[in-house]
């Protein structure tokens, strides 16, 4: 591989949308961007992916909602969000002005809800992309449906018809066959696949004999799940022709590079933001350094270069 003093271009284009860097925030870990504006230079984020928004406001689960685990954390936030009306009225105007791409993540209990959400978001300025959360493990029916390729296909097809916005479909890792989910999404018109969401997990307090989360189980995220996420991204990228957005345990630029080598066209940084709001920006910088060190001029030159 030629090593030269290349000027590195971090821009990536996914579903016709150009992102300043391939390093985005992950849904549920950067709110709707307001706090990120305080603590980071948002224009250096590839995209701000918003916390899942649902049709009706949701209260989420009671405290305790999180706990630390070995190299990771569990959460059972329970999709607390203000609902699409307030989101459009209060959050979108700010998001529209934010000097970064806004990927709006939507979640629903039914296909109809997702369709309505997609429609509502299509008529307003702000969203550059939609991300369909078909994988949140914290809502009763979330897992079963999200792990059924047939449902995923129907769901994506319906939402596809409802909007012209680029569609990223976020699939669940709590399945024996994430590849079929991705294929179903692709077959129904998804523009990209994002993976992975959290793994179902639990923690027990041996003093109180109680679960450490109010909802008993929750979603596992952070470095602990990085190997699971990498395997998922690698397999999906070989099975579909649309871009894959890698998520799971990414903290640094070298983590990002590993996902891109395995086939991701972009990545999202989640849990690592809690430790440092600047994590995605630092990761993008480190990724640029890495590309430069390898003499690669563009991110695309690294995508899927894994040698197997």
């Amino acid at each position: 591989m030629a090593k030269s003093a290349t000027k590195v271009d971090l821009k990536v284009t996914i579903a016709g949308v150009t992102f300043a860097t391939p390093v985005w925030t992950a849904s549920g870990t950067a709110g709707t961007g307001e706090e990120m504006e305080t603590w980071t230079d948002v224009k250096r984020l590839g995209a701000l992916v918003t916390k899942s928004v649902s049709l009706k406001p949701r209260s989420g689960h009671p405290y305790p909602r999180t706990c630390e685990t070995a190299s990771g954390m569990l959460n059972c936030i329970g999709l607390q969000n203000k609902g699409i009306d307030a989101f459009i009225a209060e959050e979108l105007p700010r998001l529209a002005k934010m000097p970064t791409r806004a990927v709006v993540n939507i979640v629903g209990d039914s296909i109809e809800e997702l369709v309505e959400l997609a429609q509502r978001l299509s008529d307003v300025p702000g969203p550059d992309c939609l991300e369909l959360n078909l994988s949140c493990p914290n809502v009763a029916r979330g897992i079963d449906q999200g792990s059924d390729p047939k449902w995923v296909g129907e769901c994506v097809a319906a939402v596809r018809k409802a909007t012209r916005l680029p569609l990223i479909v976020k699939v669940t890792p709590n399945t024996n066959d994430i590849v079929s989910l991705a294929r179903a999404a692709e077959g129904s018109g998804a523009d990209a696949i994002s993976a992975i969401n959290t793994l179902v997990g639990m923690s027990v307090n041996h003093q109180s004999l109680k679960p450490r989360l109010s909802n008993i189980t929750g979603g596992l995220s952070g470095p602990a799940i990085k190997p699971v996420a990498l395997a998922a991204v690698f397999k999906i990228a070989r099975a579909v022709t649309i871009p894959v957005v890698g998520i799971g345990g990414i903290s640094t630029g070298l983590d990002a590079a590993e996902f891109i080598i395995a086939g991701a066209s972009a990545v999202q940084v989640g849990t690592a933001i809690f430790r440092d709001p600047l994590a995605p920006i630092h990761a993008a910088e480190e990724l640029a350094q890495y590309l430069k060190g390898r003499g690669l001029a563009r991110v695309a030159d690294l995508v899927g270069t894994i040698q197997v």
């Binding site: 870990t29 709110g31 504006e37 603590w39 989420g60 909602r65 607390q80 952070g222 430790r275 440092d276």
Partner: protein, 271 residues
């Protein structure tokens, strides 16, 4: 744009077994922090999550701030073992400070254990703003509870400013024998505190805050409490650190302690 920055550890003092005061240098925190706010410190490079500590003291001229903490687990242990000069990744100041006392109400500061920390800075700020017209009527009153003498840490530098905390201890070894809420009731009963002309600021274990809220409600005293939660992010993005609101519904059922608090009007929350 703010950002996490490396504070520098100036010194560490073990005030009581397992209780440490640490001074850190980071001018922006020293300058900007208001009582009730907190800093989110990374105990070391190997740690995945930060730990929240109330700002205990500041010296804007020297550019330093102090925290007071108790070693409970890996995070606080890691911090307590740092060598002077070590960098400490610091996010802050975070959260909303204590609100000013309503007109005509004397601040009564009620703390349990290390809940004393933000109250100590609050006392200093209150004295600063009222020093000129400082009088027996406006000076803050401070009631502090601890388990025993051993655990009772005197608020840093307050006696020099003329504030002498009234102590309560569970075992009677340090001041009033009993809970600090019992002490508050006692002070009210013997006329030392006049509910009609007082406002209470509390910080301590959640059960104590619940009891404090209940007591204040009974005496019709306004009461503001500073709360603790496990805080993955500390700056408002994870929705992990929530408290239930009395008048909440749907999205507003729960609010974030890190960003909507940590100080809340005690009458508005469900303990």
């Amino acid at each position: 744009m703010n950002a996490a920055r490396a504070a520098q550890l100036v010194w560490t003092r073990e005030l009581a077994p397992g209780i440490f005061q640490q001074r850190l240098r980071l001018p922006q925190i020293a300058r900007q922090s208001r009582a009730g706010q907190f800093v989110h410190l990374l105990p070391g490079a190997g740690h995945l999550f930060r730990r929240a500590f109330s700002v205990y003291a500041t010296d804007p001229k020297a550019g330093t701030f102090d925290v007071l903490h108790q070693v409970l687990g890996e995070g606080t242990r890691g911090l307590s073992r740092l060598e002077p000069g070590a960098p400490v990744d610091t996010l802050g100041p975070l959260g909303k400070p204590f609100p000013k006392p309503p007109r005509g109400r004397r601040p009564v500061l009620v703390g349990g254990g290390l809940g004393m920390a933000p109250l100590r800075l609050w006392a200093v700020e209150l004295l600063g703003s009222t020093r000129a017209k400082s009088s027996a009527e406006t000076r803050p009153v401070m009631l502090l509870g601890s388990r025993s003498t051993q655990q009772a840490v005197a608020p840093y530098g307050l006696s020099a400013l003329g504030v002498r905390p009234v102590w309560a201890s569970d075992d009677g070894s340090h001041g009033f024998h009993g809970h600090v809420i019992a002490l508050l009731e006692h002070e009210i009963a013997r006329g030392k505190i006049n509910p009609a002309q007082s406002v209470v600021y509390g910080c301590g274990p959640e059960r104590m805050m619940a009891a404090l809220a209940e007591s204040c409600a009974r005496h019709a005293m306004p009461c503001f409490v500073s709360l603790e939660r496990s805080m993955p992010c500390g700056f408002g993005v994870c929705m992990g650190c929530v408290i239930r609101m009395k008048d909440g519904a749907g999205y507003t059922t729960f609010r974030r302690v890190c960003r909507d608090g940590p100080v809340f009007d005690a009458s508005e929350i469900v303990f």
